[in-house]
């Protein structure tokens, strides 16, 4: 960490020899100095450049970093210790204006663009950010020995989900934090199960480990806000013996901007945003919250989606408004919907040509969620594919019509669901046997989303966990900056 360097009053120029425009303006700088005007020159690369002008080497680029030099040459006018004006590159008019020298650079072209400052060089900027702003990070520093393989060291400390993670160096974490406007110290949530404060900094560390890019970070933060509350009940989702984890459905134009997959293999491997956002959420719960399998996580089988289960809706092709809009978020806004879900299962119907036929197939498969004789207690997401969606769209069906059609086909007499009926001990309590018809899902318990590749007359069901106050309700939240 270095103190912010103060610029002297007068004119200040920042240049580098590698830049052709800087070399072109060297005689101009000499002409300014010859008038006796106060001029200070900093050189980024070669300390012998402009040495006859008394140039100072910006050895660690502190002057360039702290004064936001994006382009060289930059000419700055300083009065009473404060910058009053600057110009970048070569513009004869602007240089003349700043210096007050009417004939400056008469033999040069009117304008010439400058070059990138070394302080914004992609190969150097992470190191500079760590050097000059690293003090904002308060997490404990962990020094790894040179003889230690850093990837194995992270496994050994119990900080991974079973796959290698990216070592969270200060440089990488600071770069991750450029993805959000929130302060590193801001507490986003109280992390279950240990109930410790989850700061933006801790989330950024885990996002680095998960393989996120900075533009993924706001999505990770939004998803963590969405799961760490009494409504979603991340504690219970973690602790349950059932095979569920947070399923994250992303909506909004930002899903395209960060390259999320809503098409071919949307639930599967191969897309960095889908994989790393969901992984970062789970790694944060593991590391910050202390939720580890075999400890508070008691899942009997779990499911592979507990590594990451995150996808975007295909809003452009969907016959329905986005899931987030159906759940109260304004159109065009980025949002996440979190759902305590197990792995997806496929619904095959290659012969249906009407929405009624398709609804009948969906209903038959949805009936089996967790057990055909257990009703109301579990929610589900039905993810409609493009090929199936076309059948619904051609008939003009809305999301609500589809849900109503499914409800109409999912009523079951209580006597068929009662414990012991049909030779199965499992079922609803005996006092419900006399009920004429019980629904499979509670009102609002069936969510409909749209995603998948353009070929395949298949849809997908993601079954949920115990719902409502004793379990988890889906939560939808807007994604911030």
């Amino acid at each position: 960490m270095t103190a912010q360097p103060v610029l002297p009053d007068g004119l200040v120029a920042i240049v580098k020899r590698e830049c052709e425009t800087c070399r072109m303006v060297e005689p101009v700088l000499s002409a300014i100095a010859a008038t006796g005007a106060p001029l200070a020159v900093w050189v980024q690369d070669d300390p012998t450049f402009c040495v006859e002008l008394g140039a100072v080497h910006d050895t660690d680029l502190a002057v360039s970093w702290h004064h936001d030099i994006g382009t060289v040459p930059t000419l700055i006018s300083v009065r009473d210790g404060a910058e009053v004006e600057r110009t970048i590159g070569w513009s004869r008019d602007e240089w003349r204006g700043i210096t007050g020298m009417a004939t400056l650079g008469a033999d040069l072209p009117p304008t010439r663009p400058g070059c990138g400052s070394m302080s914004v060089d992609p190969d150097l900027i992470d190191g500079l950010r760590a050097r000059f702003t690293g003090d904002v990070l308060v997490s404990r520093r962990v020094e790894l020995s040179a003889t230690e393989d850093e990837f194995e060291a992270l496994f050994a400390r119990g900080w991974t989900d079973g796959l290698p993670v990216v070592p969270p160096t200060r440089e990488r974490v600071l770069r991750m934090l450029t993805g959000t406007t929130r302060e590193p110290s801001e507490v986003v949530a109280i992390a279950p199960p240990d109930l410790v404060e989850m700061t933006v900094e801790k989330i950024a560390i885990n996002a680095v480990m998960a393989g996120c890019l900075p533009e993924h970070l706001p999505w990770v933060i939004a998803a963590l806000e969405a799961v760490c509350n009494d409504t979603f009940n991340m504690h219970g989702v973690l602790a349950t013996t059932m095979p569920v984890g947070p399923v994250i459905v992303c909506n909004g134009p930002g899903t395209r901007a960060i390259g999320m997959n809503s098409g071919i293999n949307a639930f599967g491997q191969g897309n960095r945003a889908n994989s790393s956002i969901g992984r970062a959420v789970q790694l944060t719960i593991r590391n910050v919250g202390g939720g580890r399998p075999g400890e508070v996580d008691r899942a009997t089988h779990g499911n592979p989606g507990k590594l990451s289960f995150c996808f975007a809706e295909d809003e452009d092709a969907s016959p329905f408004p986005p899931l987030s809009v159906a759940r109260g978020i304004e159109p065009g806004r980025n949002a996440v919907t979190v759902f305590a879900g197990e792995g997806p299962r496929c619904v095959v119907d290659q012969l249906a040509r009407t929405p009624e036929e398709l609804a009948a197939s969906y209903a038959a498969c949805l009936r089996t969620v967790h057990h055909p004789k257990l009703v109301i207690g579990f929610d589900a997401i039905l993810v409609v594919s493009p090929d199936h969606g076309r059948i619904l769209a051609d008939a003009g069906w809305t999301r609500e019509q589809l849900v109503d059609a499914l409800d109409a086909r999912l009523g079951t007499p209580g006597r068929d669901l009662a414990r012991g009926a049909h030779g199965m001990a499992e079922g609803v309590p005996a006092h419900l046997a006399s009920v004429e018809s019980l629904p499979k899902f509670r009102p609002g318990g069936l969510l409909v989303a749209f995603a998948g590749g353009g070929a395949g007359l298949f849809s997908s069901i993601i079954a949920g966990w115990a719902n409502g106050a004793i379990g988890s309700d889906p939560v939808t939240r807007a994604v911030g900056t």
């Binding site: 760590a130 997490s139 969270p168 974490v173 219970g236």
Partner: protein, 103 residues
């Protein structure tokens, strides 16, 4: 180019940031186990799993036979942590607590 690399010379170990909540003490000393339950107040916490009460009824019988005073508590739902008031009540009224996880 004479710019000095700010990330330090190569071949040194790297420094990373702790990804955890940093809430774990390095060591934790368990309470001394009581030699006998006679005369102690034992709290039995039912987490509201089905048939947990059956299990605890039997535990209560066995504890009372051994001279313990038993107090029964119940979480509203097994899916969420015990409310802070309940934890406090147990901590001030019992010497020992047994939590029942049963199905």
């Amino acid at each position: 180019m004479t710019y000095s690399e700010p990330m330090g010379p190569a071949n040194q170990g790297i420094t990373i940031l702790d990804p955890t909540g940093e809430s774990r003490p390095s060591t934790r000393t368990p309470l001394q186990r009581p030699g006998s339950v006679a005369g102690l107040t034992v709290g039995l916490l039912d987490i509201s799993k089905p048939r947990g009460d059956k299990f605890l009824d039997r535990i209560e019988e066995l504890l009372v036979e051994r001279g313990a005073t038993v107090m029964r508590f119940k979480k509203p739902t097994f899916t969420k942590p015990a409310p802070v008031d309940l934890r406090h009540e147990i901590s001030i009224s019992c010497n020992v607590v047994i939590e029942a996880l049963a199905d």
